[in-house]
């Protein structure tokens, strides 16, 4: 079975799977010196990491989106340097008009033609419904783990689910959890929300570092975490119009920072933050990531919770700078 790799949370895994292909959402490690990808000056480390991962990750085709300008343009570097088929899906940044959602739906249909060209089969409504139900069921199981797993486990399970692109992976995820259940959830530690740019695959040390200092992440507000999860689907709606259901679950609910306007991001964050009893925010963005960087000051002005912001690059372990920022957050909240 051919594997289609992508990074953006607005690519529905179900859609690829329904075509008989394997979807795999990449969470990249740092590009480092793996590959020369133009000047590092001005280039977002996460965008570089994605490009590097697309070269090295086992996959038969690559799907880019337009949600990030550096990624949209980085796609051209990929096209020039790989023989793999590459597809660019335009995810509208506007969302208030029905035309935007309709255009996203049309883009999914265009993606379908690309998937067929790879050897996939355009799904019937009943086939698509079946796949949607399977993914939605698995995603519900995944979300349920949040209340019993550690914050790090839960975020890593999300990444694992996205990468596997198969609802059956919940069996493995459950096994991993059962084999190493958290001894005791750190209930007494200070609840903190992580918010901002997506995490690279080696960035989960942040969770442990914060716990050692007396805090714990109760909300992973990154698109590699909970922020990037599509909305749960209505079973009746799945049967009636599965493609529209997919559009609504992804385009209709993921409140990413790139959207215009992006007030939904703050609505989502307030709702989740209150629900989880958040007391402070660790806001993290990559250097040269305009989309998240520009939210840092706005978040501070908007939030009634204290915010510590952390600018990060390609570091693969805890740096003195990061440690100092985490310490200051916890001390502020104690």
């Amino acid at each position: 079975m051919k594997t289609v790799i992508y990074e953006c949370p607005f690519i529905p895994a179900e859609w690829i799977a329904a075509h008989g292909l394997r979807p795999s959402r990449v969470q990249p490690p740092a590009a480092g010196a793996i590959l020369s990808l133009g000047s590092e000056d001005g280039t977002c480390p996460y965008a570089r990491a994605c490009l590097a991962a697309f070269f090295h990750y086992p996959g038969d085709a690559i799907v880019y989106t337009t949600t990030c300008d550096q990624m949209r343009r980085g796609c051209e570097v990929t096209i020039a340097q790989t023989a793999k088929p590459v597809f660019v899906l335009h995810v509208p940044k506007t969302w208030e008009q029905p035309e935007a959602s309709a255009f996203y739906r049309e883009e999914l249909l265009r993606l379908s033609r690309f998937l067929v060209s790879l050897g996939g089969h355009a799904p019937s409504n009943s086939k698509l419904s079946e796949v949607l139900l399977a993914f939605d069921g698995a995603r519900r199981q995944l979300v349920e783990l949040r209340s019993v797993a550690t914050a790090r486990q839960f975020s890593e399970f999300i990444a694992r689910f996205n990468q596997a692109g198969d609802p059956g992976c919940m069996v493995d995820i459950r096994k991993v959890f059962d084999a190493a259940p958290p001894a005791a959830l750190a209930r007494k530690k200070i609840p903190v929300a992580l918010f901002g740019s997506p995490l690279m695959s080696h960035h989960y040390f942040l969770f442990d570092s914060l716990e050692k200092l007396g805090g714990r992440i109760v909300l992973d507000g990154t698109t590699t975490g909970e922020l990037g999860l599509p909305g749960l689907m209505d079973r009746q709606a799945i049967r009636e119009d599965p493609l529209q259901c997919l559009v609504n679950a992804y385009f209709g609910t993921i409140p990413d920072a790139f959207r215009r306007p992006n007030d939904q991001l703050y609505t989502w964050f307030r709702e989740k933050g209150l629900e989880r009893g958040v007391r402070g925010i660790l806001f993290r963005h990559y250097v040269w990531c305009d989309t998240w960087h520009s939210e840092a000051q706005r978040l501070k002005e908007w939030s009634s919770w204290p915010v510590v912001s952390l600018e990060t690059g390609e570091e693969t372990q805890l740096t003195g700078h990061t440690l100092a920022r985490l310490q200051s957050l916890v001390e502020m909240l104690q």
Binding site: G38, S39, G42, T43, C44, A47, T66, C68, D69, Q70, R72, R73, G74, E76, V77, A80, V88, H90, P92, K93, T94, E96, Q97, E99, A100, F103, E106, R110, R113, F258, R260, P261, N262, V287, W288, D290, T291, H293, S294, A296, Q297, R298, K300, W302
Partner: protein, 461 residues
Amino acid sequence: MSAAPRQISLDEWDDRYRELHASGLVEPAYGGPLRRHFEEGHDLRLRTLRFDNSAASLRLWNLLLTEEDRLRECRRQGRKLVGTMKDLGTVPVMAYAFPNLTAFYPDGAWWIPCVMEFSDGLLRIADSLGIDDSFCPVRAMLGAFLTEAHFPRPDLLVCSVGATCDDFSCIAQRLNGLGFPILWWEIPHRRPAESGEADFLMPGGMTLPMAQVGLVKSELARIQSAMEELAGERLAETMLAAGIRRANRVRRCLEELRRRVFMADQSPLPALELLIAEMMAIHFCSDQEQAAQALEELLVQVRARVESGQGFGSSSAARIYWVNPVSDLRVMNLLEDCGARLCGTDNMFCHALDLIPENLPPLDALAGMALMDPMVGSAAERAGRICQEMQAWRCEGLVISRIPGASHCAWEGQIIADLVHDRLDLPVVELEVPPVADAFQSSLRSRLEALVETIISRRTL
């Protein structure tokens, strides 16, 4: 009134202005000596620039440097102001089709820190809002909105997003978060029509997917409705068609101006004035009729110089194609100091220089033009056009000017440079130009001189 073409300083313009007046110069209402912009407008950068000494260029500069006054006068007269952001050239055509709307680009604030040599404080305001120097200098726009010292608050703000640079989209979102309502409209990433897909043929042969044209058309219709509400009248198709014809008057003039400047043996217009002239295409410097007249006068001057064999610099100057506008205007002078001349430009708004089809339904034509924006397509497509123009205008080298912090500059330079190397085998230099580049002058100079030396030495091969 005419004198031999010469680049003169601000001080020299005092005498030249008196001379022109003595010989009967008649100026429009916004005319006057250049010095007043330095003394009253604090446009400090003017003292470091060298200007074309023609009356036509004086008019062009005066039109440019009086835009803030003009916008305030429009507000005083009760005209409605439309702040059009990012699309660079399309939405103003629609706005100027209404008799009582004036459109301008708040984006233009990106030159204020340069022109005022940071005395404006706009970048400090952007810093305080969390938009620091890792963003494109267009962040100056935030300060301009908050201080209202450079333009009045528009009655309607529209901003294109989608396949645009993240810097601008984020700065506009920050503005929106500060309480400035914005009508966002979507411009999709341009792609070729796929096999079996309905397409839309643009003049020049490019085909666009009908689905994309349809989306942009519906977005422009939404903007049209907002403008109709603001203007208090419906925009009939005939009015929009007339607006397109007026925009094309400016574009035709620029087309001939550029061709004559790029193809002449000796450059009949300095690089700096050419850049200013091109900028007129995007929103007519807030006065469509005056912009057209100023450009027509400049064209007459250029034709006369070409016919009399007069110009600037040497006829052996290295012929350079320049990509992306410089945030420091002085670098245009520097290019010529290094023994080069401009023979082609892509200042990110080539689509605003191309003629808008007059044989199509007006809204279709505008939608197609919006999609022809070089920044919404791939850098490879942009490079393709650059290569064509470099060949047509016999360019010998390419300068890619990186805009500090701009998201599109992360990758595009490498892609464009590789394609120009592969297709034309011509030398390329990529350099970064900050809003005031004095501290980098020597390194910029050595890189440009090295490019010129390379070009000259290749001529003998």
